[in-house]
Structure formats: C-alpha cells, structure tokens
C-alpha cells in the first residue's frame, strides 16, 4: 500500500542488504527499501501504488539464519535483518520462474504488439534466460476483442493481477477478477462475460497501461507498437490516499 500522506511517527530500523548497512522505517517492505536505494530486485506483480500480491515470486530474497526464502514485496523490514538479493540460488530460481512463465502460455515475442516494450521480455534478458529448458505447454488460449478500444490476449497473460488491482483500488470499478485454478486460472471481466459487454468497465484503460505484457493492449496496434505509460499510477495512488485521510 502507498505510504500515508501524513506519516505518523514510525520507528527506524537498521538492516543490511547485500552486506551494506541501511536504515529504513519499520513500516516499509524490503522491496521498497531496495527501490529507494537503487538495489535491483526483479519483480512482475509488484507495482508502486497498488496493493501487494506477492504472486510472481521473482522478488524472493535470502535472509541470514533462515532456510526459506522471503518475497521482498510482502516482507517488512526488521531490526538487524540481513538480506541477500542476488545469490546463485536466487538467480537460478528467478531463471526457472521466467522460463515457466514462457512455457505456460504462448508468448511469441516477435509478433507481439508489446515487443520491445514488455516487462516479461526484458525480465528474461535480465535474468539470463536465453532459452526455455522445459517443454512448452502448447495450450490454446482465447483472445477477447469484444471491447471497442482494448483487447485481451490470454496467451500473453502471466496472471500478475495488476489489472484486477488497479481497476478495484484506483478506478473503483472492479471489472476485473480471477477465475479458475492452476492451468485453468485466468483473468475475467464481470462474471466471465465478454469485455465489450461489461456493465462495470468505464473504458479508462488503466488495466491496459499497467499490464506488464501484451495481454492487455489497445485495439489497432501492430507488432511492437504498444507502448504503455503507467506514470499516472503513483500520482493517483497518493491523491486517493490523501483524500481518504482528509475525509476521516
């Protein structure tokens, strides 16, 4: 969640990240502290301005004295914490996660409208994924072009739920949600009705702008033409929060 506009007095903690000392407010998450201090942590579902989902698992970090890994986006900092963000084990896990995302659905980058503007594609390059070592699932996923302005391609969806959260938390429409389990899991509009028939969609396009891949795009775009802009999000998130605080 975005930090409150008027910060109440919060305790300050000190912790080490990759061997360096940092101080942070006790109500911050590890990923927030890392982003503030320009420590790169890969993530796909986390987005500043939206609630935490902790679904993509790319931001997993190691903690000294703990055998299990922690999602940096959903773990609060604590006094004396010793965090490692870039170890051989983490790099291996991140590579595997990205490979599994590519194997699960049909992400054909070369013919995607989001080619070269895609967070998944960039993540593959950053994590050192130059091929997918597991077999592709080769499942056929549907494309919903019923909306007059936007298009949904399930083939390119990684189920990060940014669309669900931005629609609910920022636009207040809650058109999007998630249906089904495992490999049947998919994002839906209203009660799994075609997007173009949605009663709740305001057509604001926030879901399209925050979508990290070519799953949600503008109609009429050709390969590589879909450039997204999510600068509105932190600004709107702060204003919403400030409004909420004054009304209380």
């Amino acid at each position: 969640m975005p930090p409150p506009a008027t910060a109440p007095s919060v305790r300050v903690v000190t912790l080490t990240i990759d061997g360096k000392d940092f101080s942070a407010r006790a109500d911050e998450t590890i990923i927030e502290v890392c982003r503030e201090n320009k420590i790169p942590i890969p993530s796909l579902c986390y987005l500043d301005g939206l609630s935490v989902w902790a679904g993509c698992r790319l931001c997993l970090v190691e903690m000294a004295g703990q055998s299990r890994l922690y999602a940096a986006c959903s773990t609060m900092v604590a006094e004396g914490m010793q965090v490692s963000t870039d170890t051989p084990r983490l790099r291996r896990y991140r590579r595997t996660i990205v490979e599994l995302l590519f194997a699960e659905r049909s992400h054909v980058c070369s013919v995607c409208v989001s080619n070269s503007h895609c967070e998944l594609q960039a993540m593959a390059q950053k994590c050192g994924v130059d091929h997918v070592s597991v077999p592709y699932r080769q499942a056929r996923n549907q494309v919903d072009s019923s909306h007059e302005m936007f298009r949904l391609d399930h083939n390119r969806c990684i189920l990060c739920t940014r669309c669900v959260r931005v629609c609910d938390e920022i636009e207040g429409a809650h058109t999007w949600d998630v249906m089904g389990r495992g490999s049947d899991c998919q994002v839906i509009t209203d009660l799994a009705r075609p997007w173009g028939e949605s009663d709740t969609c305001t057509g604001c396009g926030k879901c399209v702008q925050v979508c990290p891949t070519g799953a949600l795009v503008k109609q009429g775009t050709s390969a590589g033409e879909m450039v997204k802009d999510k600068h509105f999000l932190p600004i709107l998130a702060r204003r919403r929060h400030a409004q909420g605080a004054t009304h209380q």
Binding site: S106, V108, C109, S116
Partner: protein, 189 residues
C-alpha cells in the same frame, strides 16, 4: 545458457570451420548473417564456411567446428538435419527465435495438424485444392525448438538476431571465450 564453458578453438591453427543450415524458418537469420557486411571479409580470414545455403557445398563434412542452425524442427528433414549437425559439429548454435523457442512456426502447435493443412491447402484455395505430399518430408504434429530434439551449446535469440549480435557471438568464439548472447540480444529482438 550452458554452465559448461564452450570453445570453438580448433586443435590445429587452421581456420575454424563453420556450417549453417536453414530449417523451419524464413531465412531472415541467414540474411542477418549477411548483414555483417564488410565484417564478413575479416571473418573470412579466420573461418571457413564449409556447408550452408550461402555456399555451394552439398554435403556436410565429417568434422565441423561450429554448426549454426536457423529455424525450428517441424518435419522429418529438419530433425535429420539437426541430428547430423549435432553428430558432426563440435559446437552447436541455435540462431534466432524459431531455433530457440519455436516462434512463429510453433504457433500451429495448439491446432490439429489436419486442421492446419486443410486451412492452408483446401479452405483458402480456389483452384484444385489438394494437400501436397510428393517429395516432401512429413510434418510433425508438434513443432519443437532445436534443443527439444538435440543438445544445443549456445542460444542466440532474436527475430532475427541483429548482425551485431551474430558478430559478437562469432568473435567471442574465435577468441576462445564463451559468449553471453543475453548481453546483445533477447527473445523477439
């Protein structure tokens, strides 16, 4: 990315021999190879292309230092080619997204092969619709990337990989280093 270091350095101080083949792809990767332009002249001092759509040789030599495959494996001839390359090449490179991921050729995979053939040769044809069979290798039901059939040492994604990326990979190999193609190219690049 392989964990083992790979090297194309030949045992003798002869030129490095390179073979290339074009499987189920559009030849764009070979065009990109040619796009190295004047750098090809320098490369030709250090390597010999002994088998390729770009040269006349019709037979793959017994021992080749570097094999470069463009395209995915979609039919029996593709598989045969890939196996021959693996057998005769010390180092095998998957060049381009079709070889590395399956890419566009693999987009038929979610459909039945019969449906794909009917769509291409019957439903959309006005005159004498028929499915060609004579002298053609049988299509596989599933299109696979090269490493889905034979072991691959170096992956160079891109559609096509930029000439600079191909030059980087070949230069690193000539210097006896393991190239890291992620520095210069990516899926869809």
């Amino acid at each position: 990315m392989t964990d083992n270091p790979v090297s194309a350095t030949p045992v003798s101080d002869k030129k490095i021999t390179v073979a290339t083949a074009w499987l189920d792809g559009c030849s764009g990767c070979h065009m990109s190879f040619l796009d190295m332009d004047e750098r090809l002249v320098d490369l030709a001092q250090k390597l010999d292309i002994v088998y390729s759509p770009l040269v006349d040789t019709k037979v793959l030599p017994d021992q080749v230092d570097v094999g470069i495959l463009e395209g995915s494996i979609s039919n029996e001839a593709d598989l045969h080619h890939a196996q021959e390359f693996r057998k005769h090449c010390k180092l095998l490179i998957s060049l381009g997204d079709c070889a590395v991921t399956g890419n566009v050729p693999a987009m038929r995979n979610p459909f039945k092969l019969e449906a794909v053939l009917n769509r291409a040769f019957r439903e959309t044809v006005d005159l004498q619709p028929q499915i060609p069979t004579v002298g053609l290798p049988a299509l596989f039901r599933q299109v696979r990337p090269i490493h889905g059939c034979v072991e691959v040492d170096v992956f160079v994604p891109g559609c096509p990989p930029h000439a600079d990326a191909i030059f980087y990979v070949l230069s690193e190999l000539l210097e006896g280093r393991t190239p890291d193609p992620n520095k210069v190219t990516r899926f869809g690049a």
